[in-house]
Amino acid sequence: MTAVAAPDRPRAKGVAPTQGLRRPRRYGRILLYAALVAGSIPTLLPFVWLVRSALMQDSQMFVSPPEWIPAPFQWSNFSEALTTQPFDRYFVNTLVIAVISVLGTVLTCSVAAFSFSRLRWRGRDVVFALLLSGVMLPYAVTLIPTFVMWQELGALDTIAPLTVPSWFAGAGGGVFNIFLLRQFFLTIPFELDEAAYIDGASPWRVFWTIVMPLSKPAIIVVTIFTFIGTWNDFLGPLLYLQSEENYTLSLGLASFQSMYLTQWGYLMAASAAVIAPIIALFFFLQRYFIEGVTLTGIKN
């Protein structure tokens, strides 16, 4: 930026411009890193507390002032906590629900977003506006009738109530995904579609071979949001799943917490085990995630 401004501006008296700039910059750097470190302490401290508690014997946990390093490392908390309840089964249940939901949401939402952004049909914008208006509806309004509906269908204690809505563009919350994908689709040049149509392609082909491959960042964002959403969901499983063998991780952990209220080592180990997979997933996808959120320009 200085390169552009320099030619028509007189040099500052006596001081070379680079020298004038460098000092505050270095202080700025130091301040920036200080702020980042200071900010991440309260963010990370609960995690440190979780992990150290998960690896401690109860006797060490209840001392004051608190100790931060477990001695000895009580690894058995993990194995014992994870065997007192079938967390492996809960893990598989949660994963199945999450994968089915992600597939349904991504597919039906992107198809709808394609229709709302790149195909012209009468009433399109009215329909889209109507769908969008649903965003304001609190979930509490649809909660009771939806529950009654699944009950009438005899679908309680199955994964249907937790997965089927995602195949209808995620129902309720899915509108946000349609909106996000539509915003992204609008940035892809329309000439690509027109060329394909001239070659005799169908809208489905244009969607599948042109628009989708170009939309990876947006799709990754929707995938991560949906996955985290289903993985973390509590109210849904609480309402619809009854037998323990169908429990998700959240339900398992909640019942675990009411059962082992005093076994903090177990509780913390179980919590850590529930948190770990989602952090691992995010760790591998975070670059695409932040990039995608930026590109899709969620704001507005």
């Binding site: 049909w121 009771i144 809208p203 959120v293 930026t294």
Partner: protein, 293 residues
């Protein structure tokens, strides 16, 4: 082509349209009807007109839950907005290891709600929890946190601030959309960081701030998990959040009609609050394209 487009257009939007009818419009209408009935599951609903709504006026717990929820919203939303904006500003700088920093600040948002609640019960533990341990080491008085009436909601507000990640990500996206040339203009005029922030960043970010404000308010009006798992609405109804009260009416006391009326009242409250926010927004939200549209 026109015909083809219409056919495919409707076909491709069909799952979304059906989903809207089955999972939004249908239940909405049903819920409106239920709210006018006296109904427990198993029996058939009997029509009672507006009785459920008039009953709410005299329902102490309804008012308690509304007050608690409003208190929580007023405390949590501004705090989360300020913290997430500040962190987004930090993460918008060219720091080394930016991806790592971003992950660190987003981490709490990833924690499953129930794991989060379990973790924070332990953090709030008055005898051996993290917070009181730190306070004691600093020679400060300890607190009862979620176990005392007066500190229960403030404790949950602190806890909510920990999960500022989603708001932060949206601020970050907004910050990256602020045109560079505006900053350059301020610099050329001799303005420092403060002026850049005050005359460029803040006005250009008002739409994003507004978006996060609306989403935040609508979201905090619907808290549930903390009350259900952590405090069960206590101590002495101090954390009886609105949706938790509704849930209890519906699925514990099986008063489906009354619970539906509660749901519709919540909807109306949210609509009014949102409407007021939008009206007020005209005064402070700056849209660059306002003239063009």
């Amino acid at each position: 082509m026109r015909r083809l487009e219409t056919r495919w257009g409707i076909l491709m939007a069909l799952p979304a349209i059906l989903g809207f009818l089955i999972f939004t419009i249908g239940p909405m209408a049903a819920s409106a009807f239920f709210s006018l009935t006296d109904w427990t599951i198993g029996a058939s609903p009997s029509f009672v007109g507006l009785d459920n709504y008039t009953a709410m006026v005299g329902d102490e717990l309804f008012w308690a839950s509304l007050t608690t929820t409003t208190y929580y919203t007023l405390g949590s939303v501004p705090l989360v907005l300020i913290v997430s904006f500040a962190v987004a500003m930090l993460l918008n700088q060219k720091a080394r290891g930016l991806a790592v920093w971003r992950t660190i600040f987003y981490l709490p948002t990833l924690v499953p709600a129930i794991a989060n609640v379990v973790l924070w019960i332990w953090i709030f533990n008055p005898d051996f929890g993290l917070l009181n341990s730190l306070l004691r080491q600093g020679g400060l008085p300890a607190s009862q946190w979620i176990y005392a009436e007066s500190t229960a909601v403030p404790s949950l507000i602190i806890m909510s601030t920990w999960g500022f990640g989603n708001t932060m990500v949206i601020f970050l996206a907004g910050l990256q959309g602020v045109p560079r040339h505006l900053y350059e203009a301020v610099s050329i005029d001799g303005g420092g960081p403060f002026r850049r922030f005050w005359h460029v960043t803040l006005p250009m970010m008002t739409p994003t701030i507004f978006y996060n404000l609306v989403v935040g308010v609508v979201g905090t009006f619907q808290v549930f998990n903390q009350a259900y798992v952590m405090t069960e609405g206590g101590p002495n109804h101090a954390t009886l959040f609105y949706v938790y009260y509704l849930f209890r009416k519906a699925f514990t006391e099986s008063e489906m009609g009354y619970a539906s009326a509660l749901a519709w009242t919540l909807f109306m409250i949210i609509m009014v609050v949102t409407f007021l926010m939008f009206r007020n927004a005209r005064r402070w939200v700056y849209y660059e394209m306002a003239g063009a549209r």
